[in-house]
Structures are given as C-alpha cells and as structure tokens.
C-alpha cells in the first residue's frame, strides 16, 4: 500500500508536465503517426500484434477479436511534450486518441467498432522579409499554421477457426481534414493583412486482414496483419480574403500498405516477451503529390519499425496487494518514417506501462509512458527532438453476450 502511494504521487508529479504528439516533422507527409494502438501495447515497445487481450481491445490485429471475456467500452487519450534543447523549446499538447467498443458473439466470434486517429499534424512556420516597391519599404511577416490529420472509423470481427488458428477482418473508413492558414501582415503606408485558408479533405477506406497462430494452450502466439488502402482521395477547398474559391481539386492517393508480424512468447509463468516488426510500403512520389503545404513537399520511402517488450502479469493469488494486482510492462522500439528529404526520420525510444484491473477484472486502467528521440533531415537546424508521451486508457466492461457452459 505504501508503494502504491508512491506510484500515485509519481503520476501526479508526472501529470504536471503533460505533453502531446508534436514535432517539427509534423509538417511533412500525412503528419506524425498517432499511436492508435491500445495503451497496453504502447507500454511494451509498441509490440503487441500477437498479444491476446480478453478485457480491452487490442486494435492492432482483428484476428484477436474473438474470445472476449466481456462487452466493453474503452477510451484513450495521451499527452506529450516535445523538448528541443538546441532551440530551448518545450511544447505541450493533449489529444484524444480514440475509443473502441467490443462484444463477444459466442465463443468463437467477436465484434469490434471504434474510432481512432491515424496521423496528426499541428505546427506552424514563419517567414519575415522586406522589399522595396515604388520607393516604399514593405516589411512582411508570413505565418502558416497547419493542423489536422487522418482518423479512422473501423468495424471488424475475429473468428477462431480452431484453438490454433484465428483470422480477422477489419474494414476502416478513413477520413479527415487538414487546414492550412496562411496569414501575412504587410507593414507599409497601407497596413494590410492577407488571409488564406486551404482545407484538404481526405477520405477513403482500407481493409486489414489479420492472422493468429497459437499453440494448443494458446500461450505461444504468432501473428501477422496486412493493411491495404483502397480508393483514397483528397479534395482541396480554398478560402481567400475575399470569399471562398469555387475551385475544388480532387486527387487520388495511393495509401500505403502496412505489413506487421509479431510474436508473443511466455518466458515464465507470469512473464511474456513480445516482439513486432512493421513494414510500410509507400509510393515513391506519394508526398510529392500529397502535401499539405508546398514548402513541405518531400520524397517518400518505405518505413520500418521494430519493437520489443516484456509484460509481467499478476499472480492468481486470492489476496493480492494493490501492487500485486498490477500488470507491469516495458520495452523499446525503433522506427523510421516514410517522409524522406535528403535523409529520413528515425525515432527510437523506451517505454513502460502498468495496468490496474478493478471491479471483478471486467474493468481496467492502462498507463503507458514512452520516451523517444527523433532525428532526421531537420537535425542540422533544430537538433534532436525529445518526445515524452503519457498514455491513458480506461476500459469498462460487463459480462453481456457471453455464453457460459452449463454443467
């Protein structure tokens, strides 16, 4: 109990320095990838495509969406800070990171629906200069603010074909808006302000197919998913100082294909090792065709990510202390991003997390803490980015729709 007080005190102190997923690299491509995984996975080095979870929904693999222990609703949020010592910059932000609803349909089938952000962009750039026009000096200052991102509404099901094999299918409706606001102040005899707003609406759909292979006791798991985009397009709406432009430009986008493989291995009775590898296949000129602001056109490369994590689950003793009831996990990850401009973007970091089940193990609170270092083609200008994220998820469940065997 004493230790639990310390844990809460630690979290309180931590919350005073809340953060969000922000980055100078957010201007490029689709923006910074948002952690749409469940918080449990995020605490294990982002590795969990093969990790079963009967209480809370593991969004990363629809093949896991069967054998649910409860009907549940979960919501997630995260906060993070970006610090760049070279620029003496510290930014903070809080974001909602989705919700999910799942329910069991018999013993072999489960259904899940949810909403989650995929990418997020929030940043601004500025430029100041002056020119001489007809003998008058024009000083101008342009500021461009970019915000938005892509989110997904997904609906999926998992089916346990046999104790060793499960498959799943997830249909995702992708949607979102990016907004570019360009504001230029011109300081001359006639002080003028220019306003320019461009909204890029994106929509499309994507399908994820999941596979889960297990040993007979379902302790060793091997999993794979493939996410394939389809019919993705962007439309541009322009609004200027003097009313909206009627021009609407619509372009098709080849959304990337993401392949993940993962493994879940028990090390001891209550300790499991998880490892994931992800490979994203991007069209080479994707971000030459799709960019939010002209200055942030870039090339693209296939992305790669790898994560490794350990999780210690609580023992089955009848009277566990508070700390003995917790799940503990930690991990590390490395990933590259698809944006490429003379060089790529790399991020590596460490993660930690805990989970607290409560009320008859049908409800759970998950926390994850990640600390990463990001560097890339802006490193010469800004140095390395230090990103500290705290994720929180709460799952509330009820034993509805679950069939119990009659003896």
């Amino acid at each position: 109990m004493k230790t639990s007080r310390r844990a809460i005190l630690f979290l309180l102190v931590l919350s005073l320095n809340g953060w969000a997923q922000i980055s100078y690299y957010a201007n490029y491509g689709f923006g910074v990838e948002s952690p749409a995984n469940s918080v449990r996975i995020l605490g294990m080095g982002r590795a969990g495509v093969a990790v079963r979870d009967s209480m809370s929904l593991n969004q990363s693999n629809p093949a896991l969406w069967q054998g649910f222990g409860s009907t549940s609703l979960q919501g997630q949020m995260y906060a993070s800070t970006l610090s760049i010592p070279e620029l003496d910059f510290k930014g903070k932000m809080v974001n909602f990171s989705g919700f999910a609803f799942k329910l069991p349909v018999g013993r072999r089938v489960g259904l899940a629906i949810g909403l989650a952000p995929l990418t997020r962009m929030k940043s601004s750039v500025s430029f100041a200069d002056s020119l001489i026009f007809q003998g008058d000096k024009f000083e101008y200052n342009s500021t461009v603010e970019l915000s938005g991102g892509i989110s997904e509404l997904y609906l999926g099901t998992g089916y346990r074909v046999s104790p060793n094999l499960a498959v799943g299918l997830k249909a995702q409706l992708l949607f979102g808006n990016y907004v570019v606001r360009n504001h230029t102040e011109i300081d001359s005899d006639n002080d003028l302000e220019s306003y320019y707003k461009r909204t890029i609406a994106v929509d499309g759909n994507r399908i994820t197919i999941g596979l889960l292979l297990s040993d007979h006791s379902q302790r060793y798991n091997l999993a794979a998913t493939i996410e394939k985009g389809n019919k993705f397009k962007s439309s541009t709406f322009i609004e200027n100082n003097y009313g909206p432009d009627t021009t609407i430009k619509s372009d098709p986008i080849n959304f990337p294909t993401i392949i993940k493989v993962g493994i879940n291995l028990p090390v001891t009775k209550n300790l499991a090792l998880n490892a994931d590898m992800q490979y994203g296949i991007y069209e080479a000129d994707l971000f030459q065709k799709f960019y939010i602001f002209q200055q942030f056109k870039s090339d693209s490369r296939n992305s790669f990510a790898v994560g490794v994590g350990l999780e210690k689950s609580p023992g089955q003793a009848f009277k566990n202390t508070f700390l003995q009831k917790l799940y503990y996990r930690g991990g590390a990850y490395y990933q590259t991003e698809p944006v490429y401009l003379n060089s790529g973007i790399r991020e590596y970091g460490i993660t930690a997390g805990i989970s607290l089940p409560f009320f008859y193990n049908l409800n759970r609170m998950d926390f994850a803490l990640t600390y990463g270092l990001k560097n890339g083609f802006l490193s010469d200008e800004i140095g390395n980015e230090k990103i500290l994220n705290i994720h929180f998820c709460i799952t509330t469940g009820e034993p509805w729709f679950r069939k119990y065997k009659k003896h």
Partner: protein, 416 residues
C-alpha cells in the same frame, strides 16, 4: 564518487521527508480525480513555430498603363452654402462674391422715425486671405451693396451657385467700400439711408452682396459665415421713447459665395479636375481585372499616379484631402455623382507643390480584381466643406504627352 558523497550527505534529509510522506493518508479516488484534471487541463498547448529560410509567398509587379484607364471629369452644381467661410475677391483663378440675407426689421425699427436711429453697422469677422503665387500681401478692397429688384426668385444658400445666379438680375445700391484686413473684426457703418432703403416696401429686398471693389488688388479674402460663431450681423442703435439708447442685433439667416472660375476648364482632351467650388469630380475606371485575372491574388500595393496640370491647379497654399468613392453603374454611365464624406473608401492629402498625386489604393484594387464588386470606377473629389476656391487639375489618359498620362503600379502577392 562525487555523487555517492552527495547522496550520503543528503540521504538523512531524503529519509526524513519520505518518512513524512509515508504517513500522509491518501484518498486514492480523489487523488486519481485530481490526476485526470491535471492531465486534461494542466497542459497549455504550445506548438513549434519553425522560422523558415524559404519565402512563404511570392511577389510580382503589374504595370497598368493609360490604355487600361478610362477617365473623365464631371461637372455638377456646387453646394457650398454650408461652408464656414465666405470668399470675396478676384484672381487669375476665379471671381468670388458673397450674398448675405438678414432677418427683417421688426418693431419698432420697421416704423421708427429715421432721426431716432443712431447708427447701423455691419460686423464681419475675417480670416486669413487665401495665399496665391504672389508673395506680396495684396490690398483687398470690397464693396457692400444692397440687392433689390422685382420678380426675381429668392436665392438660397442650399441651392444657389454660379450656374443659376447672376448679380445682373438685381438692382444694386452700393453703400460702402472698405479695405479688407486679415483676422480682424470689421465694423462697417452702413449709414441711416440703408435702413430707409431696407424699409422701402415698393420693391423686394434680397439682402446684401459683398463683392470685390473695382480698384482692389487681385486676391481672395475670407469672412466667417453664418455657420460659425463669428457670423455676420447688423447692429442697429436707436433712441427709445424714454430717451434711452437701445441696441438691436440682426443675425444673418442665409449666406453663400458665388464662385465664377475664369479659366477654360472644358477643353479637349478634357483635363481631370477636382474642385468643390466648381463641383468638378474626376471619374476613373481602372480596368485592373483585365490584367490580373487570378481573383485570389493578393494586392499588396497599388499606386495610382496622376500628374499635376500646373496651369489649371491653384491650391492657395493649402493641402487638400482627396476622397475616393466607388461608383455604381448609374453614376458611371449617367455621369452623376453626389459626394458624401460617409461613403468614401479612402482619402489622401495632396499639395500642389507635388508634381504628381500618388494614391495608394491596394484595397480598392483588390475589390475589383477579386470580383467582390463590379468595377464601375471611382470618383475623386474634395469636400465642399474644405477650401472650395481651390482647383486641382491633372493630365488625362488621352494627353498628348504619354509621360503625363495616369498610370498605376501594382504589387501582387501569391501565398505559397
């Protein structure tokens, strides 16, 4: 080694603080609620702003030649009766005289024997005479005459001007010629017979006129009008029945200046003129939308240059505020215009010492290029409440010398 020494030094203090913390009773639910509140609301959002070395917008310049500028001068009836000044005099630019109408003589003055009237004085408060090119202060002389006649329409300060008024329609009786002096209060004795003439009911009376005397130097003098606290007035003194001296003041009820411009202002090609005394307005149609077809292009600068016609221009040493008003189709096509200081879009101070009038009108050009309004041109005018004898002249787009024609330079900005 250093850290372990520090740790050993401060460990007792840490232990003491921690032991106190251990006995603090924590309400977990409340603590968790506080934690969430802090997490949600304790973060002030701050996003990174990256200073770029790449320009976020591009600039370009567009020249609008006289071929894309349509212009004309519109003459209307001047309406300067509400001006604070009355102008009297003559110079190369114009001849001006002022009409004044006073309250009628009431009892007992309308029947009082003339021998009981002691004096009749006209009081005028003057301003500073209008400067012209002559550095020498002129000796201005003015004549006061009463206006009588039969069957002549009454004049009014709201509608009478040089286009509908002529002194020749009146029978003038000159009463006094006086020398004008600057910034002075002039008390002018009008003699008793002036009262007798005023009371003569056999003819109609139309007030008095103050006009330049025949022998006056060239120049224009200023008298404060009835719109000010220094209004013209007639003070009459007479003996009452009890022998006491009684003084009555008659205030002016109407006054207006008639300005007759001397120069030929209507020549070909028609010069561009701006004057409130003449009621001349310059109409310009800047066909910028034909040159800038991208309606989203931002107009960062737009300088309209009008070259001063010094032969026609007389500003009397003062600067003038030129107003610019958008025209509608009826005004442009019909050539009618009623200026209003409540409806102009921009203004610019101008002095004839400048050889060119530069109007900076980026907002106006933006209205045309964006298609936000239809382009029926703009009117350039100066307020009738200003110095109305002034005449500002500019060379038109059809002037024989291309260098003197109006032109415009535009700076456009494209964001991204």
């Amino acid at each position: 080694m250093k850290s372990s020494i520090l740790w050993n030094i401060y460990k007792p203090y840490f232990d003491r603080v921690w032991s106190k913390l251990r006995y603090v009773k924590i309400d977990y639910r409340r603590t968790a609620a506080i934690f969430f509140c802090l997490l949600l609301f304790g973060c002030s959002e701050k996003i990174p702003t990256l200073p770029l070395n790449k320009n976020l917008c591009s600039f370009d310049s567009v020249s609008v030649s006289a071929n894309f500028i349509m212009d004309t001068t519109i003459f209307a009836e001047p309406n300067i009766g509400f001006n604070s000044y009355l102008v009297v005099g003559t110079d190369d630019n114009l001849t001006a005289y002022s009409l004044l109408l006073f309250n009628t003589l009431g009892a007992p003055l309308d029947t009082l024997p003339l021998d009981k009237i002691l004096s009749c004085e006209l009081v005028l408060v003057t301003g500073n005479y209008l400067l012209n090119d002559t550095a020498i202060h002129p000796s201005l002389e003015m004549t006061i005459a009463s206006m009588e006649g039969e069957g002549v329409a009454d004049w009014s300060e709201d509608s009478t001007n040089s286009t509908n008024f002529s002194l020749e329609n009146y029978s003038l009786t000159e009463w006094k010629t006086f020398t004008y002096s600057d910034a002075d209060t002039l008390v002018l004795d009008l003699t008793i017979p002036f009262i007798a003439k005023w009371r003569d009911t056999t003819q109609s009376h139309y007030g008095i006129v103050i006009k330049p005397a025949d022998r006056s130097d060239a120049g224009l003098g200023i008298i404060y009008s009835g719109e000010t606290n220094y209004y013209p007035r007639i003070i009459i003194s007479y003996k009452g029945n009890d022998g006491d001296t009684i003084t009555t003041t008659l205030a002016g009820i109407e006054d207006v200046t008639i300005t007759e411009f001397k120069k030929n202002l209507e020549t070909l090609p028609q010069p561009l003129l701006i004057s409130s005394g003449k009621a001349a307005y310059t109409f310009l149609k800047l066909r910028v939308e034909e040159l800038i077809t991208d309606k989203n292009l931002f107009i960062a600068g737009a300088n309209l240059y009008l070259y001063v016609n010094s032969e026609l221009t007389e500003d009397y040493g003062s600067s003038h505020t030129i107003y610019i008003t958008l025209l509608d189709s009826a005004e442009w096509e019909g050539g009618s215009f009623s200026p209003s200081v409540s409806s102009y879009i921009t203004s610019r101070t101008f002095s004839a010492n400048d050889s060119v009038l530069t109007l900076k009108i980026p907002g106006t050009v933006q209205l045309f290029t964006s298609g936000n309004i239809s382009n029926f041109g703009v009117a350039l005018w100066i307020s009738p409440s200003g110095l109305y004898p002034a005449m500002l002249g500019f060379y038109p787009s059809e002037d024989s010398n291309p260098a003197r024609r109006p032109r415009m330079e535009i700076l456009t900005m494209q964001e991204e």
